[in-house]
Symmetry: C4
Subunit: 223 residues, 4 copies
């Protein structure tokens, strides 16, 4: 087993604990994957295995058509969707899928989460869009994700009647997007329960998103 | 004490911790039971004992009429309902009862949870149905569970003004159904607060449920 | 320091952890007290001290007029209310006060929680009633509690615009009532959000409450 | 490094754990700062660093214009707002910023939280007011905070479409205000979902607030 894969195995196993810790998943319902840098491989959760039992060793390595390359278990039943994203989005290094509660409630209505919080403008740069209803079993889900996010700033898509898929430059960024997606889906849900949120202008969303991508965090200051 | 009973005692004691961990119960309000394979016995929680104090040793063994066979405490006051289910459903190996919050809110209105999420189609294959209002103390609750679930795909029933009962091929499957029941009851509740969820077609529910039962998890791939 | 007081000090300190664990309190907002059996004394939380820092040693012993008998800190600012209850209800051995979220929301509207769940019929035997708005600083709160609960089965009262007080034969019973009060306040709140809960008949409430008080738990079976 | 700064570094690092524990923040979204007593310095969280990784050593020391004086990381992107508050409010020793869920929902609507709970009268002495929408990057947020809280009893302000800022005589008091702000924002939100909360009179709010500031906690009894 080559070394970069070992690091990715560990990272993917560990990041599933973030899904649990942020209460985005119950039982075995969500999954994280990562692309293996420089190789046409991905690492993903085994299907139907509980989060407590996940280790670097029982992660599954697949090629980008979703065929198992290494691993004793079957891969996540969502592997085809993850693989489709990696094939069509070379910029994507990580994919996350959850049925997190508030985001899935918006998805059940087929309604995008409007961008009415500065934190949403930062992380998503726009509304969180709704993708099509798609059955599991072929490329429908993967295609729905890629087509909906094409040209969209948001790293998250609400798949209708289903749940959330997020993408990132690596798996940690995709997990962060999944965490923030649920957080803003909840806040905007609550805001809407007692009236209408104040809109943010497109200009303000642009300015916030630009600054967040270029100034925030431990990058050399760009201003 | 025979060995299979010892394993079941441990399993039932441990699964109560899953009810706590998934926040399905407070104080002493819920209970798990399991059928002892090959014998006309069930293992269940003692009545009114807190979850922290449950051990394999203080679980109660009853016959399928609910009479205590082994155990120093009184069995759960819901034992008659569990026993009725085991007598009338030989396919059932585990039963769970909770007053989990969102499911009980639907039960208080006497309203079924509509099947509008792919995760619901997977696990429940239909709406989560409502059973009759029934007083504790005789076979009314057990009969209500069995009659409502007869011919229904759902392993969960909302007993009116009361709470949830779930069944499974073993106790872990029944606990999983209880966890998923609360999860989807919450998501659909939230979806309904701000509008109407999109319906899933009966055909799509059938396809999802078939696939989930036959392909998902660590079974040999059927497709 | 006499031995029974030491036991009560430990019990009261420990039960505050139950308030935290069941998420009934934040920061320093709730308190538990217990009567010292056979003596005109009560043990209560010190004022404004955080839950992490509570020990048997820093609990405060007061007489039933609320005067400090033992303790280096000032007693809870709610001591007068607790003391009033002990003076006027010799059957009460424990009192709990919280601002638990859902119960306080009903209290803010001045609305009783209707008895529409079997678990409510069991523990409360009726709606959870609303007491008057009363300012802290004299006997107003204590009198409001005692007058509202006089002749009422419920061990919990919602003090208007304020929070919850519960009573019990001992402090653990009062804590249990506080836990169950929040639990049913939450479930009925959720039920009401999407329609009207089904009513329970007075007869069914009576039967459930009688059985719960006489059969449930580890008492000799009465049936 | 002088000793008082070391204490403040530790305090600020530790208080971030309170934000996590009270579920006021996800990922890296909130921050705590403290003024260094007797010096024109503040200590604040580094930008974009996760809460698990915060230590006294990686806290950032800035002057009151927000320039880094000690520290290897960039300071929180909200440092300019914190610094503005310290420059214009010499009575303030601590500032906290969160996007806590319920408070941010009120902020998204641009709606103040009305004072309808005794706990709110105690801690806030009034409604929790709404400040202007302000973009990050200059003094707009700091000025919005200071102008909104000028002459107001509340230590918390809801910045429109953004989140919460709280102030205190020290950082712990500001954290307490942030915890209480979310707690009452949640309770009043829930109360409003099913009707209208009962109002508190201005006189009662004054009396409660006076007593809380002068009698509550471990001060010498003033009555």
């Amino acid at each position: 087993m080559s070394e970069p894969i070992d690091l990715i195995r560990r990272q993917v196993a560990d990041l599933h604990q973030e899904l649990v810790r942020h209460q985005l998943v119950v039982w075995t319902a969500g999954n994280v994957s990562a692309r293996v840098p420089g190789r046409d491989l991905l690492v993903i959760k085994p299907s139907g295995v509980r989060y407590d039992e996940l280790t670097p060793q029982n992660m599954i390595v697949c090629d980008l058509d979703g065929n198992v390359v290494e691993g004793e278990h079957a891969p996540s039943s969502d592997t085809a969707a993850h693989a489709y994203v990696y094939r069509h989005r070379p910029d994507v290094g990580g994919v996350v899928h959850t049925h997190s509660t508030y985001a899935s409630a918006w998805a059940a209505r087929g309604e995008a989460v409007p961008c009415v919080l500065t934190a949403m403008a930062d992380e998503f740069g726009a509304e969180i869009p709704v993708g099509p209803f798609a059955l599991i079993g072929d490329d429908s889900i993967g295609r729905g994700i890629v087509e909906t996010l094409d040209g969209h700033r948001s790293p998250a898509v609400l798949m209708k009647n289903h749940g959330v898929f997020t993408i990132g430059e690596d798996a940690e960024a995709a997990v962060k997007a999944a965490v923030m997606c649920e957080d803003v889906a909840r806040t905007v849900h609550l805001a809407r329960q007692l009236g209408e949120p104040q809109p943010l202008s497109a200009d303000d969303i642009d300015r916030l998103n630009f600054r967040y991508r270029n100034v925030y965090g431990q990058r050399p200051a760009a201003q």
